[in-house]
């Protein structure tokens, strides 16, 4: 049984680990190592998760109903059957969307205040 909250907004803001795991699962289901690789690639190596953080987060996200285990395999013969795959739930997708919107609005504010523009021009 999940501990799904009544109001999804109560999950926000997400921690970097949770946000990046949800983001890694946005386009396809993945196993733990696949999530780890995708998070590393998506963040240019700035978010490095060890197995403890990864599976600790997965455990809590399963419990909160943000992700679920999947038994489907794109090609079972190509993969290790011992691996467990995870995918987003509707709630997880909705919370990912809300968090992305929240972050986008923060970026808009930064742009409006010329914070982002001055940083970019200073770095070039």
């Amino acid at each position: 049984m999940s501990d799904t909250l009544q109001n999804p907004e109560e999950f926000l803001p997400l921690t970097p680990a949770v946000f990046n795991i949800l983001l890694a699962l946005a386009d396809s289901e993945k196993h733990g190592y696949g999530i780890m690789l995708e998070v590393e690639a998506n963040t240019d190596g700035q978010v490095l998760m060890g197995p403890g953080t990864l599976y600790g987060s997965i455990k809590r996200m399963l419990k909160a109903g943000l992700i679920e285990e999947s038994n489907e395999r794109a090609d079972p013969e190509m993969d290790d059957q011992r691996r467990k795959y995870y995918r987003l739930t509707d709630l997880g997708r909705s919370i990912l969307h809300m968090e992305a919107e929240r972050l986008a609005s923060q970026v808009m504010i930064a742009k409006a205040k010329n914070v982002l523009g001055s940083y970019l021009s200073g770095s070039t």
Binding site: Y55, I58, K59, R82
Partner: protein, 289 residues
């Protein structure tokens, strides 16, 4: 038929060590996720070895050890069969209060019974090989560290990741340094071993001070938001100052009296912080951090 490739010895050794470390996690978590964590760690080892050889695997270990300690504490904090987060926060408040008393009594005893504050004058300055005192000092570190973890659990989300991280580092490093001191002092194998006992509390309280700076900024406490800063600051600043003062000829009685007074004030601050922590426990909420 193809032969299964044999892993390099550094990987075989690493995954065996990691398998042993996995045993430290709570049983329920370990049974469900242990095999997957083992598999992921092995995959990471293979990739690190392919990219950078043995150095790559050593770098991976640096990340993995930090991840291991952090996630281990997190799992025990959230282990529902053990206690809820609210219960832990309540308990940690009492631990902080008890730690404040133990810290005061044991450090004051050490101040009075030893001439530790004069380390630059003689080599045999740490003369108290009193088992009970050594253990009391270390127990005070552990109690204060549990209190620190309670502060982290209660106010960590509000003060942000840096404040949380500093408290976690302090709560791990303080007792670990103190343990070295206990082993060294009791076995009489490490010169200056007793200093490590003080250093354990210094490190722990220094990180509490840094956490206190974040608290001053965000103000998550119901009142007295300067308390964590004050509760942490004095010992890490005072102890080296007294050592230097004594080394420069300041009378021992004067520095001892200053130390006693400051120690009392700091202990009171820690005690009040513990009281606020145990009295200000939030409603239970699901954590997905």
């Amino acid at each position: 038929m193809t032969n299964k490739p044999i892993d390099p010895p550094v990987i075989v050794f690493s995954v065996k060590v990691y398998q042993v470390l996995l045993a430290a996690y709570p049983a329920k978590f370990r049974q469900k996720y242990g095999p997957h964590m083992y598999q992921v760690f092995r995959d990471c080892c293979l990739r690190a070895f392919r990219q950078s050889g043995t150095i790559g695997v050593l770098n991976l270990w640096a990340l993995t050890l930090f991840d291991f300690l952090g996630s281990l504490i997190e799992e025990y904090l959230q282990k529902e069969t053990f206690m809820t987060k609210s219960k832990f926060i309540h308990m940690s408040g009492w631990s902080l209060m008890l730690g404040a008393v133990t810290f005061f009594v044991s450090t004051l005893s050490a101040l009075v019974e030893s001439n530790f504050y004069d380390p630059f004058m003689r080599l045999n300055v740490f003369v108290f090989y009193n088992t009970r005192l050594v253990l009391a000092l270390w127990i005070s570190t552990i109690l204060l560290a549990v209190g620190g973890l309670g502060l982290r659990a209660r106010y960590g989300e509000q003060v942000g990741s840096s404040g949380k991280s500093f408290l976690l580092i302090g709560a791990i490093a303080g007792p670990a340094i103190g343990l070295l001191g206990v082993i060294g002092a009791l076995a009489k194998v490490i010169m200056w071993a007793e200093f490590l006992l003080y250093l354990g509390n210094m490190v722990l309280l220094a990180y509490l001070t840094i956490f206190g700076i974040s608290v001053l900024r965000v103000k998550p406490l119901p009142r007295w938001n300067g308390l964590p800063f004050i509760a942490g600051l004095w010992f890490p600043v005072l102890l080296p100052s007294i050592m230097i003062a004594n080394a420069n000829g300041v009378p021992g009685n004067l520095t001892l009296n200053v130390a006693k007074g400051t120690l009392l004030l700091q202990s009171i601050a820690l005690f009040i912080l513990g009281y606020l922590l145990q009295a200000n426990v939030p409603e239970e909420a699901p954590a997905i951090a």
